[in-house]
């Protein structure tokens, strides 16, 4: 199963920043926020790709471009062999929106408290003018059932306040399923939920992939969730992909120091051993502002193993074998292995 379903080529989203009057008078060039700064990505049919990054990494913007809520400023997007880069406008996007659906983060904000669950799930069908009245009713029930809200007819008549957080998120999933999409972009779909409920929803997502051959772009800040769910993981930092590869490889043998740091601080419920050395790589500072991206490798100011070259030249994604790629000069074929970070 390696039929490519979605491909991003050199995708760029730059948001212009308004200049102040004094900057205008001094004819300063217009600065931009480089939210997504040239990424290449492919997702195969039936695959779950996790896009992992901290806030400001551009992961959500990437997701919004894929569902056509944000316009890219550069690069191409190909879905199912069709170039959809310049597909815009409500009418033109209609067939596209049936194929690619978005699941939002917050099930409390997404649902209208005055509409029943059935209304919420039916709405996209009506907007798109799909099916007859009876058809729609049946499709709504099927979607609720597939999302695990059973008996579906009973749930369809309920209001959001009657549901728990986990059930609400299932309703949001049903709202996406009712369109029978091929691709689901899920932006932090379980982050608002308790740990105990998360698992159920992750399993639901895996089941739906199995039953319906769904493809997911799973956007999360939590490396552990990506590990649990995804086939492949892409780690983003300041608008670039720093490392991408099979989940097993990215987590167990990360090659980019940024990924290594993220893996080392990923939360665990094992209490630290009293005398064991602290192996966490805690980076100082925070992700810089995407309006002022550092020169060279954008991670170099926080990188514990940065050297001269990192300050001047930006590393491309180097193949490190097994389908894994890392954007780091230390991953360049023939590069000497990284020195252990000095404290």
């Amino acid at each position: 199963m390696s039929d490519e379903l979605l491909r991003l080529e050199g995708l760029e989203v730059h948001f212009p920043i308004r200049r102040s009057l004094s900057e205008l008078l001094r004819r300063r060039p217009r600065n931009v926020v480089r939210a997504v700064d040239g990424i290449d990505l492919t997702i195969n049919k039936g695959e779950i790709l996790a896009l992992v990054g901290e806030s400001g990494s551009g992961k959500t913007t990437t997701g919004r471009v894929v569902v056509k809520l944000t316009r890219q400023t550069g690069g191409r997007m190909i879905v199912g062999g069709q170039d959809v880069t310049n597909l815009w406008g409500t009418a033109a996007l209609r067939p596209y929106r049936r194929r690619v659906q978005l699941i939002f983060q917050d099930p409390y904000e997404t649902l209208n408290p005055k509409h029943t669950i059935g209304d919420f799930v039916r709405e996209p069908l009506e907007v798109m003018g799909i099916g007859t009245r009876d058809d729609r009713g049946q499709r709504v029930l099927d979607a609720l059932d597939a999302a695990g809200l059973r008996p579906a007819a009973d749930f369809a008549a309920r209001y959001p306040h009657e549901l728990s957080g986990g059930q609400r998120q299932r309703v949001v999933i049903a709202g996406a399923l009712v369109m029978q999409p091929e691709v689901i972009v899920a932006d932090e779909p379980v982050s608002m939920l308790d740990v105990s409920i998360r698992t159920e929803l992750l399993r639901l997502m895996l089941d739906l992939r199995q039953e319906r051959g769904l493809t997911y772009l799973f956007i999360t800040h939590d490396l552990a969730l990506a590990w649990v769910l995804a086939d492949r993981i892409a780690v983003m930092y300041l608008g670039k992909i720093m490392e991408i590869g099979p989940a097993e490889a990215v987590i167990r043998s990360p090659r980019n120091p940024y990924t290594q740091a993220l893996v080392s601080v990923s939360p665990s419920t094992d209490p630290p051993e009293g005398d064991a050395p602290d192996e966490r790589m805690i980076l100082a500072g925070e992700t810089p502002d995407a309006a002022h991206v550092p020169t060279g490798c954008r991670f170099h100011p926080r990188c514990p193993v940065a050297f001269d070259r990192c300050r001047t030249a930006e590393p491309p994604l180097f193949d490190v074998g097994g389908g894994q790629q890392a954007a780091c000069w230390l991953a360049e074929p023939g590069a000497r292995p990284a020195d252990p970070p000095s404290a």
Binding site: E54, V195, V228, D231, P267, T287
Partner: protein, 377 residues
Amino acid sequence: MTTSEAREGSTAIRGRRQWPLPKQAVPGAPLLEVEHLSVRFKMASGPSVKPVDDVSFRLDDGEALGIAGESGCGKTTTALSLVRLLPANGRISGGSVKLFGIDLVPKTERQLARYRWREISMVFQGAMNALNPVKRIGDQIAEPLEVRLGQPRDASLKRAGDLLELVGIPRQRASAYPHELSGGMRQRAMIAMSLACDPAIVIGDEPTTALDVMVQAQILVLLEKLRRDLGLSLILITHDLSVIAETCDRVMVMYAGKVAEEGPVRRVFTAPRHPYTAKLLSAFPNIRADRRNLEVIPGAPPDLRTPPPGCRFAARCDKAMPQCTTEVPPEVRFSDGVRVACHLFPPGSEGSLAGDAAKILVASSMPATPPPGEARP
């Protein structure tokens, strides 16, 4: 010498222990002892709700206690009731909260005010919402010093600068407004504010929840440093068990307003006895563990308007026995400092710790049924 006189002279940040205890303090009493605490919320219609029901715990000097559980299990309400910051329809309906042996429950609002912030301070979850957006952070940190301790403004501001440095913010940033700081910086500023009056206890309500992993790691390192340097006593409320694993000495797991299990973190997290604790731990996604064998806790916590008779977890428990749905499990205390309320550990089973714990451990470490999505493409 009263507490406030002693505090006026110095701006050094040395933690609670340097100040004399309040006059009514009972010599030798534990720092904080909560016994049979119950909180009742009056509802607009229908019966009242008990979000905290007969909860007991203690916190010793310099200790960090984590309170864990799902949303709605009563962990935040428990902490808020210590300083009676309950919503208008809530009140403490029973039990005692003893700080240095002084019971805070019968105190009037006015009497209680002297304990808030000076003896027990709080770090709230959303630092953006908890900080005043139109005041400079230096002024906000100095405010409790002026208001609560009556210190002069310049001394308060100087100490605010010291506090900022202590939490890793350059003191020049004291003139910044909250929106000029990043999320991690704001959380640091909140921590600085909570330390302003050298309190005996700092309560952190989900102090790292909205932060990025790297910033969360930085804040946890800061908390560890403050504990070490100031001998801080901490109560951390969080649904994130990893935060407790990393920073706390003891953990109290709550479920539906009651204590399910409490004890040293190492004991509870490596050998959970209550099935709820075991489930919570195995539902936690961990990159160091195998993939896709996460546990599911079916169902949802009970509606507290009509709490089930017997054990409140029984309906979701895969080890439930007939008596679980009828009898409230009594609390059993083991010799290793763990106490559990579960019928799997009836009174008298303390002695057979090894056997029973082994039984539970075997049961809970069995691989979960693989999810249907297990097959890899």
